[in-house]
């Protein structure tokens, strides 16, 4: 590790205009990478990239809807044209809506799976050939502790993330022989701006043994470690960073 561990590398982070995604993009840029900010809100992606550039960091922005494979191809091609290469993909974009078994609609179910599972599946497929050709790549998927537990208030969200765990492992086996390591990070309570406005953060934090929720920057550290060349032997694994919440409740 040096100050600029990712010097010369290009890291694509989806859903990176705000929250954990932006914290990940910023940490990549601070450690030397060009952070390519992909977001469904292209104006917000541009603004986020500008914020990094104003700090003297390298950033790029791209609007896309991850549920549309044509838009994924277009984003990939535009990023390769602008940045020359893609070394890292972080599948961070995801939906986190409320819902119960009783009130679940088919549309709500399908929408969550489209963004949280189908999106990452086609994003990884769209970028893998480029990484294979370069015999190097790191892909990190943002999962959640909810993937391992019952989740009465968000059954579709929890199930979609459990499906993402499976998808992640399949890509890990497929791509390991090519020097591409695919892994995941499952966060517990993270104090994003949106979470701070919610009613779940406080009770969740109370149940977290370390006694605090994570800052988005703290979660970014796990993603960057798995995306770095420090990680040379881990594939198909998802690390759980929950402040002990998962251990205490499992």
């Amino acid at each position: 590790m040096s100050d600029k561990e990712f010097d010369g590398q290009v890291a694509v982070v989806t859903g990176a205009a705000g929250g954990i995604g932006f914290a990940i993009a910023k940490l990549f840029a601070e450690r030397g990478a060009t952070a390519s900010i992909w977001d469904v809100d292209s104006a917000a992606a541009d603004a986020a990239a500008k914020k990094l550039k104003d700090m003297g960091l390298k950033a790029h922005s791209q609007g896309l809807d991850v549920t549309d494979e044509e838009q994924i191809f277009a984003a990939r091609d535009a990023t390769l044209a602008d940045c020359g290469q893609i070394d890292i993909l972080v599948n961070n974009a995801g939906l986190y809506p409320e819902g119960t078994i009783q009130n679940m609609t088919r549309e709500a179910w399908d929408r969550v799976f489209a963004v949280n599972v189908t999106g990452p599946f086609f994003l990884m497929r769209a970028l893998m050939e480029h990484m294979k050709a370069r015999k190097f790549g790191r892909m990190v998927n943002i999962v959640t502790v909810d993937a391992y537990m019952a989740k009465q208030t968000k059954p579709h969200y929890a199930a979609s993330k459990a499906a993402l765990l499976s998808v992640m492992k399949t890509y890990a086996i497929e791509l390991a022989p090519h020097g591409i390591l695919v892994n995941g990070v499952s966060p517990g309570a993270v104090a994003t701006e949106r979470a701070k406005l919610s009613d779940w953060l406080e009770p969740h934090t109370k149940k977290t043994p370390v006694g605090y929720s994570a800052e988005p920057e703290q979660m970014a550290e796990y993603v960057l470690f798995l995306a770095s060349k420090r990680n040379m032997f881990m594939a198909g694994e998802c690390i759980i960073a929950s402040g002990g919440f998962y251990v205490a409740s499992a």
């Binding site: 040096s2 086996i173 390991a176 043994p209 703290q218 990680n231 040379m232 032997f233 594939a235 002990g244």
Partner: protein, 249 residues
């Protein structure tokens, strides 16, 4: 933060630190700025390892311990606190790995395995947690193995002792989280230590690893050092599996 300063001002104790993965961990911690305490049963090899670090301009000091004897651990801890005044990182790396099938295992062999691999982790952690609790900061990393999760006809006692270690890691984590002492584990797959290279299991394993190679001890040290660092501020009670994809298949 420069690479050589990540652990600046910190003291790290590594059991079984004289050779193999343990020594690789000591070296990496020292390269990143820690003052390293090499705790080993073999005093001569520990001193040799410390000398080697010194020749590279790194800081290492040797302490003799038997992880099955709590008094020797307490003596080493007290000596470390006298020498440095504090200790922030503990790596439970000491362990034994003898082969024996269900039929061959003796009661003595079984007991020795659990004494070193499981009880040793309990005693070492218990000994070193107090100075960390006092400082409200600590990182404890314990070495597991992928054998803890799968059937292991050639080393059932080893696998069982490491499964016990995985449980201990979670208990430590729950107990120490309120004190900002984070406890995690690393479960390595095939690592090409000198001893493994001389074995007959390593060549048989290689074709089964999706990544197509065994890890170097230095590869494994990276996971330990990350979990031992202040970059890790929210992970506790977890064990990271680094097996080159072997665990998936």
């Amino acid at each position: 933060m420069a690479e050589s300063e990540e652990f600046k001002g910190q003291v790290a104790a590594v059991t079984g630190g004289a050779v193999g993965i343990g020594f690789a961990i000591c070296k990496l911690l020292a390269q990143r700025g820690a003052q390293v305490c090499i705790l080993d049963l073999d005093e001569g090899k520990a001193a040799e390892a410390a000398k080697k670090l010194g020749e590279w301009g790194l800081e290492g000091r040797a302490y003799k311990v038997d992880v099955t004897k709590e008094a020797t651990l307490q003596a080493a801890r007290d000596a470390i606190l006298k020498d440095f005044g504090h200790v922030e990182v503990l790596v439970n790396n000491a362990g034994i790995y003898p082969q024996a099938t269900l039929r061959e295992i003796t009661v003595e062999g079984w007991d020795q395995m659990f004494d070193v691999n499981a009880k040793g982790v309990l005693l070492t952690t218990r000994t070193f947690m107090d100075p960390m609790i006092e400082k409200k900061y600590g990182r404890i990393v314990t070495i597991g193995t992928i054998d803890a999760y799968v059937a292991k006809p050639t080393t059932p006692h080893y696998a069982a002792s490491k499964a016990a270690v995985l449980s201990l890691i979670k208990t430590f984590a729950a107990e120490l989280a309120p004190h900002q002492v984070l406890c995690n584990g690393v479960s390595p797959g095939a690592v090409a230590t000198e001893r493994a290279k001389a074995s007959d299991w390593l060549p048989k394993r290689l074709p089964l690893i999706p990544l197509g190679r065994a890890a170097e001890p230095e590869d494994m040290a990276e996971y330990v050092v990350f979990l031992a660092s202040n970059r890790n501020r929210f992970m506790t009670g977890e064990t990271v599996i680094a097996s080159g994809g072997f665990m998936m298949i």
